[in-house]
Amino acid sequence: MTVVASAAPLRLSGLRKAYGEVPAVDGVELEVEAGSICALLGPSGCGKTTTLRLIAGLERPDAGEIEIGERTVNAPGRFVAPERRRIGMVFQDYALFPHLDVAGNVGYGLGRRPDRDRVAEVLALVGLEADARRPVHELSGGQQQRVALARALAPTPEVVLLDEPFSNLDAGLRDRLRQEIREILLNAGVTALFVTHDQAEALSIAETVAVMREGRVEQVGTPEEIYSRPASRWVASFLGEIEVVPGQAAEGRVECELGTFPAEQVEGPVDVLVRPESIAIGLNGPDGAAEAEVVNRRFFGHDQLVELRLRSGQVVRSRRLGFPAWHPGDHIRAWVDGPADVMPRDPVG
């Protein structure tokens, strides 16, 4: 177990970067606690990779500040070169040095004459101590990724940045490696920020998730917060399936077809956002449960997705355990037994 001497917090404020007319990063604010893992999540083109490159010093921002720990590495009139930022980087295609072997790659950041013990230590951290002398092109994708991580960690950086680190791996490998990398990062105690478009990845690895859209951070929070209390309809739908049921809010409560929920500070027509896995169905339900008819059912083994038509005609989906087996035409009850979010009905959304 290796402890990084100085994990530092990361602070971005008012970060802006445009390419020509198009702003890629449009006023990003973010704080990452020292030693924690944060995911920058968003669709293609939202500016997450640009943000990463700005933090690394590979691009210059048009405006804004970046602080790593005590040091300001970016500010109006101040720019610290990438090699002086003490930041480790893991690229999507690993970017290993083809002309150096594994040990050579890992030791590169340790100076002209790298400490062999340190190299061995870091290689042991990622489980590749036996492959120190192998040329990198002989390694599998997963092994290359671990070399890339070891290389980034070897010089004890304050922050590690990872750019879609798992997208080049086979699906089967991906999940296992996600957990391994997470363990390594936590053990190393380093501040980590990784960029991904895969919400499952962000939710399962990170302690904090920042959702980005069109150059801005839409919401920051723990995975649970983001998932169950999305700040906007867009965030909600980006993170998973949602069902939107119209309702009416008055005096702190909202009524909709699937039941009644608390609703602070909203009045009038609202939308209730519910995840399919929070929609319970059964032959009988508690008071206030809606009447529904099964329209379709898809079975996935560990769960099933049931489409049901409510009395109003709206079709919602329920994702629950794989049994009992429902059939189209069954008359059932539906109600909400998980978190529900209430938002003013906004036609733009």
Binding site: C46, E83, F91, P155
Partner: protein, 542 residues
């Protein structure tokens, strides 16, 4: 997987070309200064022309705008276009046959088809006259009354094509090796036949290599003097020659020289339009698996026959004539092998010096253009082509002009000659190095930066080692051309410094062709190994 695609997955990135996204990326100071210094050096020949013309604008303008000049320009451009077209027509099938098919002995054919580059065009020209001219050896051998005329446009066209097409063949083979065969598989699966697939999938990826190689050929034709003089084709260089020999008036000649530079800039512009319009995507670092060779089947025989015919005409025939003459010479006792050894040593020194200087300079330029593109770096690269397009005598006179005024101590030293030759042939080396650089992902360099190394150190420890193959290939090209060069060598070499090229000239200028055979053969022998390496290794990504 295209390098760079992941890092900029943003759809907002305009045009998808990385270079346009790098606004205001400053190259490290050392490299920038080196680039500017090199730019200043390569611009000397053009600067000389401007200085001379500025001294007396009248005669220069008169000559430049003369109607006769227009006719010569037209003829020369016509020759350049014709030679470029036929060079491509030869190089493309050969490249494809030797890289993508199961042609028997294709590595050997690749080398043999590249070797004609070692034959200097002036040697090739007089060999052809000797073989096919009125007094031709072939005439006796074939027993015919009269052979088709070797002189004039057709002669220049054939001879120049035969000895410059390898300049297109080399980058084409290199490009073909880097193409991902999966695209073609996809096209075939969609029902396209082999020719259609080639035309619609492979050709677009080859345009940059075609443009680059074609440009080198066109500029070479415009600057060639020896061959067109022997074959009696009134090209631009002949005009320049007549002009300064008739009047020794530099201004009129300089006027013509400037016309030549303008033509060259126009050609460069056309070349870059072709490259940017057609470069649909950057070739990746190479396919994960080598492509399946295309089975020729019965087509193997015509393919072999064509390759044999080409090698016969472009290589066997010239070398054969030389060997024949050498044997005559030896039996008549008119050649000295010890003298030849000394000449070879001098040629080697010159060639290696120019190769090192040219290779290093091209490395700087290629890195500037590839990693830090901008108006300044593009100008430097274009300026470099001026030294290549101008005839050797103009480059030599430019350096005489500057050296005798600025650094007389270096005048007529080997260092100055090497400098002149590297300035003259620099653009040849930029191609292979640029191609190798395109295969090095910028992510790798960025990773090195993140690991705490400054830009210059990254260049030294990461970029340069990965460019080794390209640097060697570029240096080899410069070497081969430097040892063939004649007019600048005669003017700028130290007094008494004789090379194989000057010896060939000595012998042939009085018609002692037999005596020129041994130095010519030794020249070919020296130039062949680097060219073999170029053909074999230079095309494979390091």
């Amino acid at each position: 997987m295209e390098a760079g695609a992941g890092a900029f997955g943003d759809a907002a990135a305009p045009r998808g070309r990385r270079s346009s996204l790098l606004s205001r990326r400053r190259p490290p100071l050392v490299i920038l200064l080196a680039g500017v210094a090199i730019g200043a050096c390569v611009i000397l020949p053009a600067a000389y022309l401007v200085i001379v013309v500025a001294g007396d604008l009248g005669p220069a303008l008169d000559t430049a705008l003369d109607s006769r000049t227009a006719g010569v320009v037209g003829r020369t451009l016509g020759l350049a276009a014709a030679v470029t077209a036929t060079s491509i027509a030869i190089a493309l099938p050969i490249a494809w046959l030797t890289v993508r098919t199961d042609l028997p002995g294709r590595r050997l054919w690749a080398t043999l088809c590249t070797l004609p580059l070692v034959i200097p065009t002036y040697v090739g020209a007089y060999l052809f006259v000797a073989a096919l001219g009125p007094n031709g050896l072939l005439r006796d051998a074939l027993g015919v009354e009269r052979l088709p005329s070797i002189y004039g446009f057709s002669g220049a066209w054939i001879v120049l094509t035969l000895f410059t097409y390898p300049l297109v063949l080399l980058p084409l083979r290199s490009a073909l090796r880097r193409i991902d065969p999966q695209l073609e598989d996809a096209a075939r699966a969609m029902g396209r036949g082999p020719f259609q697939t080639f035309r619609s999938v492979v050709m677009p990826q080859l345009w940059p290599a075609l443009a680059a190689g074609g440009l080198l050929v066109a500029l070479f034709v415009m600057s060639d003097f020896g061959a067109v003089s022997i074959l009696r084709f009134d090209s631009f260089t002949q005009e320049i020659y007549i002009s300064y020999k008739s009047s020794f008036d530099r201004t009129a000649t300089a006027g013509l020289g400037i016309v030549l530079v303008v033509l060259m800039l126009a050609l460069l512009w056309i070349g870059s339009r072709i490259r940017s319009a057609r470069a649909t995507h950057r070739l990746g670092p190479g396919p994960a698996r080598p492509p399946r060779p295309y089975a020729l089947g019965a087509w193997r025989w015509p393919a072999l026959a064509s390759c044999s015919a080409l090698v016969l005409i472009a290589l066997v025939l010239p070398v054969g004539v030389l060997v024949y003459w050498a044997s005559q010479g030896i039996s008549a006792g008119s050649t000295s092998l010890s003298l030849a050894a000394g000449l070879a040593a001098n040629s080697l020194m010159t060639g290696i010096g120019a190769a090192i200087a040219g290779g290093l300079a091209a490395l700087v330029i290629a890195v500037l253009v590839g990693r830090y593109p901008g108006p300044l770096t593009r100008t430097i690269e274009r300026a470099g082509h001026a030294g290549y397009a101008l005839p050797g005598i103009v480059v030599a006179l430019a350096l005489v002009f500057f050296a005798t005024r600025a650094v007389p101590i270096l005048y007529q030293t080997l260092a100055m000659l090497i400098f002149a030759l590297s300035v003259h042939y620099l653009p040849l080396a930029i191609g292979p190095i640029g191609a190798a650089l395109a295969q090095v992902s910028p992510r790798v360099e960025e990773a090195a930066r993140g690991l705490g190394r400054g830009p210059t150190e990254v260049f030294r420890t990461v970029t340069a080692p990965l460019l080794r193959g390209g640097i060697l290939a570029g240096a080899a090209l410069v070497f081969v051309h430097a040892i063939k060069e004649l007019p600048a060598t005669l003017i700028l070499a130290p007094i008494g410094f004789r090379t194989l090229a000057t010896e060939i000239w000595n012998q042939t200028s009085y018609g002692f062709y037999e005596a020129s055979a041994i130095p010519a053969l030794i020249l070919l022998l020296i130039a062949a190994p680097p060219l073999y390496l170029l053909s074999e290794r230079g095309t494979v990504a390091s």
